[in-house]
């Protein structure tokens, strides 16, 4: 079993390295920042959408920052997304069509801030193989599946309620946010695997203002998740179907079955510490986060039996510096994270598999609004280095990949017209596999069908091309805003000329 102190050391090393990179880049970026430069509700929303100001809420998930930059609006949204292509992980669907309806809003009344969001999503997935759970790639590899492939239908609902209290003693701000997710789904073909998913997260937040425009903050997360799975042969045609219980990255059990029940109980604990400082036209955010996830998997109804444990530990941090204002400015953000996963197997009564997912991402952005033409141009550059390690002690299988992704983007907004504003953006990048390794001393059918293809997915160079167009329509400064956006994200590989694409259409109405 890995010594806990090693995980801490790994995370610390990455964070220290990230700080050194930031310090080097700080000398390059000197700008000014004015958070209140936007004039209209639409301007405020576009600033949030383009990340042209330090979006503390998005970066820290501290509910106290809900009201920063955010105008008091209500909104409703309809969205459809279609994903397809063969460049995918083996347990992902060949094609995904999702339709969602959402509504929400933010309102400040008597110095109390209220934030709410509700989303319903209907998902159609085609040709899903080897998965009988909500999300086969949700870090925890202890899942079950039968060997057949089929089409799924899923429903998901997310509700968020957040509230922030008036400032206490002119220095202390507090808030509380609750997120509730429920989902259910089933495959349309026998043996009809089915899942019910429930998750609730309670996220308190607090900030304390220090002299000289400094502020420290703390936010936490306590989350509880329960996923129940069932499957059963109700119309047995005589075909033998095997139930596979995946217990790592290649280790599995298989049994013939008629029906079965399974439950995954997950507990999440997380903390995020923030330090913010503003001076002149600079805004700096420094944040550290730590989180732990504990899963217990049980089978049976009357006498549940634990079949495995998963523990995930994540450490991370970020530094974000904004200079200028929402019309003319620059930003640089460095995020580093290290996530370790461990599987304790009940049959082996030992830690049988582990995973490492480390990531350091740099995001540089520069934007400029031409006062004469009212054309806004934004340029972004995002190099991301990712390291993945999946190790299975039983099958002696290990794969590692080191990937350097670099994406550059150009976004354009035409803000000359008051009633109709156009948007166009394109991102072009490349995922370059710096290093990769695969070894399996005791390969089996699951190694061949699932683990190695997943390695190939992560160890394949691919090109990224994303594009987005849209327009925002409003009658006047205070009137209702209609927005429609069409976007596409694409990955192209030379491996069998496979691609993975999605096309998304979103219509929003803001009032």
């Amino acid at each position: 079993m890995m010594n806990p102190s090693i995980g801490l050391t790994v995370g610390t090393i990455k964070i220290e390295w990230g700080i050194k990179v930031l310090i080097g880049l700080l000398f390059i970026n000197i700008c000014t920042l004015d958070l209140n430069a936007q004039k209209t509700t639409l301007d405020s929303l576009q600033v949030l959408q383009d990340n042209r100001s330090l979006n503390l809420y998005t970066l820290t998930n501290n509910v106290v920052y809900t009201g920063v930059l955010r105008p008091s609006v209500g909104y409703a949204q309809a969205n459809t997304i279609n994903t397809f292509g063969t460049f995918k992980q083996p347990m992902q669907a060949s094609q995904i069509t999702a339709l969602s309806m959402a509504s929400g809003g933010y309102k400040k009344i008597n110095n109390w801030g209220y934030n709410g969001y509700f989303n319903y999503k209907k998902i159609f997935e085609k040709k899903v193989g080897w998965s009988g759970v909500y999300n086969a790639y949700d870090d925890n590899p202890i899942i079950w599946a039968d060997s057949s492939t089929g089409n799924w239908e899923k429903d998901a609902v997310m509700a968020l309620v957040g509230i922030t209290a008036p400032t206490i003693a002119k220095k202390i701000n507090t808030g509380l946010q609750i997120i509730y997710n429920i989902a259910s789904g089933a495959r349309l073909s026998e043996p009809k695997p089915f899942f019910r998913y429930r998750n609730i997260a309670i996220q308190p937040g607090i900030t304390y203002q220090l002299p000289n425009q400094q502020e420290i903050g703390f936010s936490g997360t306590i989350g509880f998740t329960k996923e129940e799975n069932e499957l059963g042969l109700f119309n047995n045609t005589g075909n033998n179907v095997l139930l596979y219980r995946f217990r790592g990255y290649g280790t599995f059990s298989k049994t013939p079955f008629v029906s079965g029940e399974r439950r995954r109980e997950q507990t999440d604990l997380g903390v995020n510490l923030q330090y913010k400082k503003s001076w002149k036209d600079y805004n700096l955010l420094f944040a550290l986060n730590a989180a732990q996830r504990d899963d217990e998997i049980l089978e049976g109804v009357s006498q549940p039996v634990t079949t495995g444990y998963y523990t995930g530990i994540e450490l991370g941090g970020l530094i974000s510096l904004y200079k200028g204002n929402s019309n003319i400015g620059k930003s640089i953000t460095i995020k580093a994270s290290s996530k370790n996963g461990y599987i304790d197997d009940m049959i082996f009564r030992a830690e049988s598999a582990s995973s490492v997912y480390q990531k350091i991402a740099l995001h540089i952005s520069k934007w400029h609004l031409n006062n004469v033409t009212n054309n806004l141009w934004q340029f972004t550059l995002s190099p991301v280095f990712t390291f993945i390690d999946n190790t299975d002690q039983a099958t002696l299988t290990q794969f590692t990949t080191s990937i350097l992704e670099t994406v550059g983007g150009i976004n354009y907004r035409n803000k000359s017209a008051k009633r109709v504003q156009l948007y166009a953006g394109i991102d072009v990048g490349y995922n370059f596999v710096v290093d990769d390794y695969f070894s399996s001393t005791k390969p089996n059918i699951i190694t061949t069908l699932l683990v190695q293809p997943n390695y190939f997915f992560h160890a394949t160079n691919n090109m990224v091309i994303n594009a987005k167009i849209g327009m925002d329509i409003s009658q006047s400064i205070k009137s209702v805003i209609h927005s429609i956006y069409l976007s596409t994200n694409n990955r192209f590989t030379t491996l069998k000329s496979s691609i993975r694409s999605n096309i998304q259409l979103t219509y929003s109405i803001v009032f």
Binding site: G7, S253, V271, Y275, A290, Y309, D344, F348, Q393
Partner: protein, 399 residues
């Protein structure tokens, strides 16, 4: 700032120390599987046996062959539940050395749930089992009879001894014993060989007796025998024949032929065989000139009744017993020149045995081929000429 940093370090430390060290590292085992021969074999441990260790949870398996110590060693075995199977094919020569019987045999062994829990060295013992090598054989037939002190003939002291010549317990339930129809030789000038001798695939019998039981009521251990007496009494009794060589009051079974005239007395201390078919007189009298006897298992109703060719219509038919249900056969004829009177197809018995004369107390007994762990293995080459020897006096359960 300094306080905040310390707080951060404390929180991070709490999280990283929350990793639950539930079980420890994965440890594999060295598993030794020892294959053992049946206890009736001359050696305890089986070398050259193919052992398969199959993981119940994922179906993966490993194979190994046992060494000279009977051990198959598997390294790097993961904790879990396994099925152990073994297979060993013995050639006729190997079987002869191990069992005393020259007959190829396949031995198998299985242990359905063997739990490996991750220690360094685990040993399982696997008992090999197979179809019995050898089987029931007719060990001794005392048919010649004896003379009374006054010189009269006495044949009620006949018996047949059946022996478990196999390596495993045999259940005798529903075992049938029958005598073949036909003359044993040129008993008189008009004696003819059996008219059924053109059929080499069956034996035509006159009377059939059966051991009762429902399947597992009457076990017979390897190396043990039963005696079936014509009459289960002490024939040496002064009221019977003090010159008789046998006391059959301890016989296992007798062939009590219940009749309305009570000509056959029942010995109450000896259980009776079931009479399935009978064409004799007042008792099951084996021909003193030389009987042919078979033991077999078959449903009587499934056997064909065949009229004796040339016999009068009132003569009872004989029962046709196919060779493939016959377990063992024995043939005795009148003398050495009576070969053309054989009643048993040569596929079952290639020869015959004979005694010097009738009523001379001589018996015929199967020879001992070898002795393994104290168990005699009787010679069984399907040839009564070679397998049996003539002895001066009968020896019921003599060994």
């Amino acid at each position: 700032m300094k306080k905040s940093f310390v707080l951060l370090i404390m929180i991070v430390s709490i999280f990283t120390s929350c990793r639950k060290n539930r079980f420890g590292v994965l440890v594999t085992s060295i598993v030794t599987i020892q294959a053992k021969y049946p206890t009736t074999y001359s050696q305890p441990l089986s070398s050259g046996a193919n052992i398969t260790l199959t993981n119940i949870t994922d179906g993966s398996f490993k194979t190994a062959t046992t060494n000279s110590d009977g051990n198959a060693i598997f390294s790097d075995v993961l904790p879990g539940s396994y099925t152990i199977t073994a297979n060993k094919n013995l050639s006729a020569a190997e079987a002869l050395a191990l069992t005393g019987i020259s007959s190829a045999v396949t031995l198998n062994g299985i242990q359905n749930t063997a739990t490996v829990i991750g220690s360094q060295n685990i040993t399982f013992q696997l008992q090999l089992q197979g179809s019995a090598v050898g089987g029931l054989v007719i060990k001794e037939v005392y048919y010649s009879g004896s003379r009374t002190p006054s010189g009269g003939t006495y044949f009620s002291d006949q018996f047949v001894e059946i022996y478990n010549n196999s390596t495993d317990t045999v259940f005798l339930d529903s075992l049938c014993i029958a005598d073949a129809f036909g003359n044993a030789g040129l008993i008189n000038a008009t004696s003819l060989p059996t008219p059924f001798n053109t059929d080499n695939s069956s034996v035509y019998v006159s009377s059939i007796w059966q051991i009762p039981g429902t399947g597992r009521d009457y076990p017979l251990a390897p190396g043990k025998s039963i005696v079936i007496a014509q009459d289960g009494v002490n024939h040496k009794d002064p009221t019977l024949n003090p010159s008789s060589p046998v006391d059959l009051s301890n016989a296992d079974w007798e062939t009590f032929n219940q009749r309305s005239d009570n000509r056959d007395a029942d010995a109450p201390a000896v259980p009776n065989l079931t009479r399935l078919y009978f064409t004799g007189g007042f008792d099951w009298l084996l021909p003193v000139f030389g009987p042919s006897i078979i033991i077999y298992k078959a449903n009587f109703a499934s056997l064909q009744q065949v009229a004796i060719p040339g016999a009068t219509p009132t003569t009872a038919p004989r029962i046709k017993v196919p060779n493939n249900v016959i377990i063992d056969a024995f043939e005795a004829l009148k003398d050495g020149s009576s070969g053309n009177f054989k009643r048993i197809p040569t596929a079952l018995d290639a020869g015959f045995i004979f005694v010097d004369d009738t009523y001379n107390k001589q018996s015929v007994r199967r020879k001992t081929a070898t002795t393994i762990n104290g168990r005699r293995v009787l010679q069984d080459s399907n040839n009564s000429s070679a397998d049996f020897e003539k002895i001066a006096l009968p020896t019921p359960k003599g060994f």
